[in-house]
Symmetry: C2
Subunit: 356 residues, 2 copies
DNA sequence: ATTGATTGCACCATCGATTGTGCAAAGGCG
DNA sequence: CGCCTTTGCACAATCGATGGTGCAATCAAT
C-alpha cells in the first residue's frame, strides 16, 4: 500500500504512526510483547502498520545492541569442489532450519587469509563458526576464543576445539584394499604398482597415507617410499607428478590412490594429453566422491565422506553446553565404480515446473 | 602483549588508554585522521595501542552508523554444481580484491526463499548484490530498489536491472550442431534421434530450446515437439525422463542435449541402472562444463559458460554511475570431449607444500 | 473511599563508531 | 601587545533496536 521512496521504515516511524513508543513497537515486532504485557489490540495495530509499510528490522542495529548477529559462518578452503560445495549446501539448509542466516566464505587454504576472514566474521558478531578444512585450526581457535565465539572444526581437526572429521585412516584402508582387489589381489600385483598422489602436510593426508601404507604393508609386506607422492592440493602440481612418472616409466602406475577430487582433476589433465593406452588398465581410487568421476572409462573407486552426518554431529556438538575437546570420527563410505549417489540437491523441491 | 579476557577492545577503551577522545581514536583508526588534523604522534600512539590490544572495529556499529556494511552479496540457486561453485570462487576473489567482504548464499530456486534471503541481506545493509540464476529477478529488483541497493542479474536476466548472461541461444546452436556432426551429420541421422532434456520455465531454458530447435530445423527441416523434454532442474526428474524414454524405446536417443550438469546427473543415475549397450553409441551435449563429465566413456560435448568474463562484466557495470537496463551476452565456449580446462582453483597459490 | 494488585505502556540508557561543529592553545604579523 | 590564522582535538548527536525501570490508570477487595 504505502511505498517507501528510499528509506526503510524503522520502529520510530511506526512509533509515530501508531502513537505508541518505540519500545512498544520493538517489543511487538520482536515477539517479546506478551512478556511486556502489551495489549493484544495494540500489537495487532502495530503489526498491521509494519506490514503496510514493509517494515523489516535493521539487523545491524539489533546485532549491535545484542552483540549477536544471527549469522552462522562456514569457513571453507575452496568453493569449487563437490565435497565442499555439498558441505555448503547442507550447511545452509541446516542453519536456515534453525532460523539463522548462513554465511559461507572461503579462504583458499591460506593461513593468513583464514585469519583475516575469521576476524572479519567476528567483527560482524557472528554467533557460531564452522571451520572446515582449515590449515590453521588452532590459530582460528585463538581468535574465536578471544571473542567468545562458539566454533568447531570439520574435515581437519584442531587440538583446542571439538572436531568432526571423516575417518581418514579407515577410509584410506578401505580404498587401498579395494584398489588392490580390483587389480587382482596381491598374487599378481607388486607393491610398487600402487601409488598415492596428492595431499599435503595436514592431518587428513597423514592419516590417509598411514592407512594406505598400513594396508600395503599388511598385504604385501612392503611399501616403497617412492609410492607416496604428495603434491599439495592443486590440479596443476598433480598433473606434473603424473607427467613425471609417465616420462620415466612410459606408463602410469596400475593402481592410483588419489588424495582428493581436486588432485583427480590433475589426472584428467594428464589424460587429455595422452593416448588411451597410457591408462587402459589403471584402477583409480579417489578420496572424495564426485558423481561424474565415478563413471569414467576406467574403474574409479571413490570414498564418499559423509557430509550430512559430519554436519549433523557438528551442529549437535554446537548445542552442547560445554563440549569436550575431542575428535569425532565419522566413517566414510566406499563407492563402487559407476555409482550415482543422491546428494543435498535432492532435498530441494522443484517449484514451478515447466509450463509454456 | 595484553590479552583481553572476553571483551573486545573498543574505541572507548583506547580513548581511556590514550587520553584522547573517542572521536580522535575513531579518526585515527579509520584513516580519516589527516583530514581531521590529528597530530602524527597522536596517531602513532593510538595505532600502537590498537595493535597491542588487538583492536578491530565492530563492523555492525560502523555499518549502523554508515548504513553500509562492506558486505557484497552473491545469491545463488544452489552451491553444489561446478558452474555455481566456480562462480562463487571467482566472485570471492574479485570482492576481496576490492577490499570488501563476500557473502555467498543460496536460495534453492525458490522465489519465496529468494525474497526472504534478499530481505535478510538488505537488513544487514549489504552494499551490493549479485543475483545469479534467480527465478524471480524482478521481484528481487523491487526489494533492492526500495532499499537503494545496487544489484545486477547474472545467468538469468531480469527486465528492471542490468543483466549479464551467457549467450544461451548461440551456445545451444553450437552445442546442437556439434552433437549432430559428431553423430555423422544429417545424412545418416533423423531429427527424432536427438532429444533435449532438462531445464524449466526460465529464460536460459527458453533460449537453449530455441537454439536447439532452430539448428535442427535448419539442418533437418524439422524438429518434432516430442524431442523437447523439460524436466526442471532436478537429477531425479531427469532420470525419470530417461527411464520413461528407455522403457518405451528400449534405448536412449542417439543424441542428447542436456540442459545443465545437474540434469546430467540424472543421466548418470540412469546409466548406473542399465547395461552398457543402452548407451554404447550415444553422444551427449551438456550445457555446462564439468571436468569429470568431459571424460565419460562416450563423447561428451560441453558448453563452458565464461564465468570469469560474466563476473568481470558484472563488476564493471556495478561501478558505472547509471548503468543501462540491458542484457549483456557473454559468448560461451564449446568444449570438446576429453578436455580438462583450468578453473578458478588454479589461481590459488599453494602455500606450505608437503613437508614431514 | 482507601489500599493493594494488576494492566499497559513510556522513558531512557545502551551497544560502538562516525562526523559536523566548536573552541582553546599556539603561532604569525604589524 | 593585540588580532587573526592555524593547529589539534573534544563534544555531542546520530544510526535503530533493546530491555530494565518506573509510573499512571484501572480494577478488586475491604
Amino acid at each position: 500500500m504505502d511505498y517507501q521512496g528510499k528509506k526503510k521504515a524503522t520502529i520510530y516511524d511506526l512509533s509515530v504512526l501508531s502513537g505508541c513508543s518505540p519500545s512498544t513497537v520493538s517489543a511487538v515486532l520482536n515477539g517479546t510483547w506478551r512478556k511486556r504485557r502489551i495489549k493484544e489490540s495494540t500489537a495487532e495495530l502495530i503489526q498491521k502498520l509494519a506490514e503496510q509499510h514493509r517494515y523489516t528490522a535493521n539487523l545491524q542495529a539489533r546485532g549491535l545492541r545484542n552483540s549477536r548477529s544471527g549469522l552462522v559462518g562456514l569457513l571453507l578452503p575452496v568453493h569449487d569442489s563437490r565435497y565442499f560445495s555439498s558441505m555448503a549446501q547442507t550447511f545452509e539448509a541446516e542453519v536456515r532450519s534453525h532460523g539463522k542466516c548462513p554465511v559461507v566464505v572461503s579462504a583458499c587454504r591460506d593461513p593468513r587469509e583464514e585469519r583475516t576472514t575469521v576476524e572479519t566474521l567476528i567483527s560482524y558478531s557472528i554467533d557460531e563458526l564452522f571451520v572446515a578444512g582449515a590449515t590453521d585450526p588452532d590459530g582460528i581457535h585463538a581468535l574465536c576464543e578471544a571473542a567468545g565465539i562458539r566454533h568447531i572444526n570439520i574435515d581437519l581437526p584442531g587440538t583446542k576445539a571439538p572436531s568432526v572429521i571423516s575417518d581418514n585412516y579407515k577410509g584410506a584402508r578401505m580404498l587401498t584394499e579395494a584398489i588392490i582387489h580390483r587389480l587382482g589381489g596381491t598374487g599378481i600385483l607388486k607393491p610398487d604398482e600402487i601409488y598415492l598422489f596428492g595431499g599435503r602436510n595436514d592431518h587428513a593426508s597423514h592419516e590417509r597415507i598411514r592407512g594406505f601404507r598400513d594396508i600395503k604393508t599388511e598385504m604385501f609386506g612392503a611399501d616403497p617410499d617412492k609410492c607416496i607422492q604428495p603434491t599439495g592440493y592443486s590440479p596443476d602440481m598433480s598433473q606434473k607428478a603424473f607427467e613425471t612418472f609417465y616420462a620415466r616409466e612410459k606408463r602410469l602406475p596400475r593402481g592410483l590412490f588419489i588424495n582428493s577430487s581436486i588432485n583427480f582433476e590433475g589426472l584428467l589433465r594428464f589424460l587429455a594429453q595422452h593416448p588411451h593406452e597410457a591408462f587402459a588398465d589403471i584402477v583409480v581410487g579417489c578420496y572424495d566422491y564426485d558423481p561424474f568421476g565415478s563413471f569414467l572409462p576406467f574403474p574409479v573407486l571413490m570414498i564418499r565422506q559423509d557430509v550430512e552426518r559430519m554436519l549433523a554431529k557438528a551442529f549437535e556438538i554446537m548445542e552442547e553446553a560445554r563440549p569436550a575437546i575431542e575428535i569425532h570420527l565419522i566413517p566414510p563410505e566406499l563407492v563402487h565404480p559407476r555409482t550415482a549417489l543422491t546428494g543435498p540437491l535432492d532435498l530441494i523441491k522443484e517449484i514451478d515446473a515447466f509450463s509454456r
